[in-house]
């Protein structure tokens, strides 16, 4: 019976199974290699074997510049590898024209002028953000010849570029390098404190209000007029405000009152001329915004007269309560206002309907009895 089966059939069958297992094994090895390769980048992998690094990792390598400054030419291959560019760029992507050794001589006056000259380099990949910077106050300063105006590398660093918002406070820390005094004020504010102390994801960092690459001059009038809209972005977000038990009606109540009406009309009418009416920051502070319950808040009841007097120097102690502190009139808060409005909301329709009926009856009689 066994002889009936030709051995020629059994052999390929056996071989097929063996090939399958070998194939699977190779696949697993390939996947493992691939996994190790990706995981290894940045963490343990050796610095890319770039020809430049044969020299530029030697400590103390530097070039003397005409103004006496020394341009350091040593970089840390490890920290570059860890940077966001480590696995994507090679040296010559940014530093073009140094292929030949010795390098051709470049006219570099000082370290700053070298940094500024490198400004254009980032554009090759980050075109959109580069273009945005051209609208910024920083670029305008640079254009006017201010060499200290920041370029890409001043905020993002050059070789150690990391994700700018990891951690989130790093954004505000980048600005603090130049804007030291404001930064010191900001970290004491309700927003800054939450950012620094709890790494809060909700509070605004510098760029949330000032913009990221197209940072405008906050001293221009139209920026001031946009402040209510700026604050409204978070302060009308219900899920966000519920977390902190803050009313989302603060913007609406502001906009429906005297200051808000003027400001929102001025926004449409003449956004670039001086508007004296108060915006959010005039009462609540700018970089030093405090909790309204805290004793040093300018809108704390005890401090309110002083805050009003900034614009209304003759304001007396009763004056602040002329503003309902973002509350909507209710029988508890501002009962007089509430009931006066209730009266009119009932009386006006009664009056109008009554008079209209009278007019219509009169007309009807005149028409039917011609």
């Amino acid at each position: 019976m066994l002889d009936k089966h030709p051995p020629a059939i059994e052999s390929p069958r056996y071989n097929r199974g063996k090939a399958f297992w070998i194939g699977m094994g190779l696949l697993v090895i390939a996947i493992l290699i691939l996994l190790f390769k990706t995981a290894g980048v940045g963490a343990q992998a050796p610095p890319p074997a770039e020809p430049c690094l044969q020299c530029h990792v030697i400590p103390g390598l530097e070039k003397k510049l005409p103004n006496g400054e020394k341009l350091k030419l040593t970089i840390s291959a490890e920290s570059f590898a860890r940077s966001v560019h480590g696995s994507r760029l090679i040296c010559s992507d940014c530093h073009a024209g140094y292929i030949t050794a010795p390098h051709p001589n470049r006219n570099i006056d000082n370290r700053r002028s070298y940094s500024i000259a490198q400004y254009e380099v980032c554009k090759k990949c980050h075109f959109a953000n580069y273009t945005k910077t051209l609208d910024s106050v920083h670029y305008a300063m640079l254009n006017k010849g201010n060499q200290n105006a920041p370029v890409c590398t001043d905020c993002h660093t050059s070789h150690d570029v990391t994700h700018p918002d990891k951690p989130r406070r790093a954004i505000s820390q980048a600005c603090s390098a130049c804007h030291t005094a404001i930064s010191k004020t900001y970290v004491t504010s309700v927003h800054g404190k939450a950012l620094v102390e709890e790494d809060n994801k909700d509070v605004p960092v510098c760029t949330d209000c000032h913009g990221v690459h197209n940072i405008h001059d906050p001293r221009i009038e139209s920026y001031r007029l946009d402040v209510p809209d700026l604050c409204a972005r978070c302060h009308t977000d219900e899920t966000l405000m519920d977390k902190y038990d803050i009313s989302t009606r603060v913007v609406q109540t502001y906009l429906s009152d005297f200051h808000g009406v003027t400001v929102s009309l001025r926004q449409k009418q003449s956004p670039d001329s001086r508007t004296t009416e108060a915006v959010c920051t005039d009462c609540h502070g700018v970089h030093d915004i405090a909790r309204v319950e805290s004793t040093n808040s300018p809108v704390m009841k005890a401090n309110l007269v002083k805050t009003c007097q900034k614009c209304h120097p003759d304001a007396g102690p009763n004056f602040p309560s002329a503003w309902l502190s973002h509350y909507e009139p209710s029988p508890q808060k501002a009962p007089m206002v509430y009931f006066a409005r209730l009266f009119y909301l009932a009386f006006i329709p009664f009056m109008i309907v009554g008079l209209s009926i009278h007019v219509m009856l009169n007309l009807w009689r005149a028409i039917t009895h011609r």
Partner: protein, 255 residues
């Protein structure tokens, strides 16, 4: 032969028109007409500042600051008119010439019911009116009380620092509610009531000119203010008779 100086009153009695409003009253109406319209045009867009039409109006009036300035200048004229009106009343009382014909009386209530019955076709008898009918009285008192509310609340809003020195702060938002809603109501009442009563009413279409010329036809007087007209006619007759008597006396003496 009879057309002598003394015959003056007789000629007037035969004239087609009688004088209903003095020049001063006509000027008062003109002033309130202009200021009211101006105040509504500059005020309502401030109440509804979010509406597209309001923004269009405000921008075309030269911006919010200029709109507010115009509103305030008009309010001073309105104030002056109100003080003038109060002064006129005061003087006429002092001279014992004041006739309280604008006050509401029980008769007006009855007239209103009668008009309602007439309009509904229940009755065919239209009530007869004196110098002012109940609708005119209603409009007058609407302007008086509305004007007082608008003036007080308006000055509260114009000088909040001053008023919060003597009053609690809440007075200002209360004044804002009064000013804003009373203004809206005045506007709507004028649109419905005055536009109908003075322009669209079939007898008066396209407009009653009496308030501008001061003159009203005897025919209309007879129809719309019959009680006053009867009095006018009686007075005219008495005057004529008196003049006639005096003329006869003079004639006797001459003869």
């Amino acid at each position: 032969m009879e057309q002598t100086l003394e015959a003056g009153p007789i000629t007037r009695a035969r004239a087609e028109y009688v004088e209903r409003f003095s020049l001063s009253q006509r000027m008062e109406h003109l002033a309130i007409m202009i200021t009211f319209t101006g105040l509504a045009i500059t005020g309502l867009p401030q109440k509804y500042a979010g509406a597209a039409l309001s923004q269009w109006l405000i921008i075309h009036m030269g911006g919010i600051e200029l709109t507010r300035l115009i509103h305030r200048i008009l309010s001073f004229i309105f104030t002056a008119g109100a003080l003038y009106h109060a002064g006129i009343i005061f003087v006429s009382i002092a001279r014992h010439q004041f006739r309280p014909n604008i006050f509401f009386s029980f008769r007006d209530y009855r007239d209103a019911i009668a008009v309602l019955r007439y309009d509904l076709g229940i009755s065919d008898k239209h009530p007869e009116f004196d110098r002012f009918d109940f609708r005119q009285k209603f409009e007058y008192w609407g302007i008086v009380f509305g004007g007082i509310i608008m003036l007080i609340s308006g000055y509260f809003l114009m000088f909040p620092i001053f008023f919060t020195r003597i009053l609690p702060g809440q007075a200002i938002p209360v004044a804002k509610v009064f000013h804003s809603y009373e203004g809206l109501m005045a506007f709507l009442v004028i649109i419905i009531w005055h536009l109908y009563g003075a322009h669209l009413e079939p007898d008066k279409f396209p407009g009653d000119t009496t308030i501008f010329t001061g003159k009203i036809s005897r025919e209309r007087m007879q129809k719309e203010h019959s009680l006053e007209y009867e009095r006018i006619v009686r007075e005219e007759r008495e005057r004529d008779e008196k003049a006639q008597e005096e003329k006869e006396k003079i004639d006797e003496k001459v003869n």
